[in-house]
Symmetry: C2
Subunit: 243 residues, 2 copies
DNA sequence: ATATTATTGTCTCATTTTGTGACATTAAAT
DNA sequence: ATTTAATGTCACAAAATGAGACAATAATAT
């Protein structure tokens, strides 16, 4: 959870109480899958970017609003994957610590100290065109490789795990228009992405045949300058209307 | 949404406001997939069985509580599949109609008239050992074949659609211990179940080979008396510990 | 008893998909 | 001009799946 307003706690009247969202924002730097994590100043606490849902706001829109605030991006690929409803999903001490580290006050019984049910989404974004924006209130934000995460607050590690599991399961079905790569990429880039997500090596020829077989790729000009060898083609994902 | 307490509306203090669950309870009668629907007396309104989450109750437990109330069953196979968060998910007129049809009063501004976010689950139960229990407050409950549903309130049709879609996608991965069949069943029974869920016919020999290949079935004695032909074996799903 | 009938369990072969390696091609470096 | 290393494509092997054939057999009819 994090707050966007300037040094003011989100107000009860404006939001649905007991309900939050958390987002696992995936990016790919060409080698590793990374996610965005907030770090709360002076607390050493790491957390997923999250937020609250306004009383008259679509759940999905709340998540998009948070993503826009953190990344500056619109039209992010977004997928809801699970809602976490443990009774233990409250962290009054943590919340208090964070708020006090920011030299703010929170009264006993404030809604932020309550138990929260959280709807979790994952997002896929192009690592290159994002300069993560830290909250003005309380945190810095940075990329962390998926297999080198710091320990996270509450059940956020479980959330990341489930996000990754879902991403893997959806890879073949739903990644057709992935935002994890730049608009044009080589077959090798795409293979590296798959390997990073799946955490296993793939066979080059089989992968290439499979990808070309799906008919979701458009072939473009060749990419020269890659080294002392045959130049690879560039590809992009077909969008509706492309040949 | 439906209420369990006797002729008393659920009280704000006890539940998390703005949050509900809905359950798509699947059963199989040997030929068709059916789901349980509530019908509100004197209103002609059909709805999914749902309910609210207590302030200190695990989300999953709230759903189990509702299922137990409606079916009398414990240990039901349950899978969360989506959380619906439209801003239009409020039905004050409908709620008012239902409550008034029960000769009860509801004040302006009652929490039940608010907008709700709903976490949706599907359940798989053995059609045979369930005698659905109607709410004391407001409804009758009955089985309806999945392709002959009456029109449902709010977005409940969308919820059913998504439940069925998820069930189909999960069929091979997660149906291993399905509760949709009696403890022992023939290969033909199992095939009929798959066909009913998928909505398509399957090839007998291929299906049988695939099922035996998964190694999740235990073969038992033969079932005699089925007709003028070779008697089929009975099978059950292996549970941990079975050979 | 015996023959008939319909469904089952299993096998075989065809087809499709996937795994695996080979090989000619080619852009840059030497 | 030659060397080097990755690419695109093909060819064959292995595995999975589609589709039918067929003997076995439990109840029914004769």
């Amino acid at each position: 959870m994090a707050f966007k307003e300037n040094k003011k706690l989100p107000h009860f009247e404006e939001y649905i109480p007991h309900l939050a969202y958390d987002s696992v924002i995936f990016g790919f730097n060409g080698r590793q899958i990374k996610i965005l994590l907030l770090e709360y100043h002076n607390t050493g606490l790491f957390a997923l970017p999250g937020g609250f849902v306004k009383r008259n706001e679509h759940l999905d829109d709340a998540v998009k609003r948070g993503l826009k605030g953190r990344t500056g991006l619109d039209n992010i690929y977004l997928e809801q994957f699970h809602t976490f409803g443990d009774t233990t999903r409250a962290a009054p001490e943590v919340m208090r610590t964070i708020i006090e580290a920011n030299k703010m006050e929170i009264e006993e019984g404030n809604w932020l100290l309550d138990r929260f049910i959280s709807v979790a989404y994952y997002a896929l974004i192009n690592y290159d065109d994002v300069h993560p924006i830290p909250d003005e209130l309380s945190d810095s934000i940075n990329w962390y490789a998926i297999d080198e995460l710091p320990s996270l607050m509450m059940d956020h590690e479980k959330i990341v795990e489930k996000a990754l599991k879902t991403l893997r399961e959806n890879l073949d079905k739903k990644l057709t228009g992935t935002n994890l790569l730049p608009p044009k990429f080589t077959m090798k880039d795409l293979q590296h992405l798959y390997e990073a997500i799946l955490g296993e090596e793939l066979r080059r020829t089989t992968f290439q045949r499979k990808m070309l077989g799906t008919n979701i790729l458009m072939r473009h000009e060749k990419l020269f300058g890659g080294g002392a060898h045959k130049a690879p083609y560039l590809y992009s994902f077909k969008t509706i209307g492309d040949g």
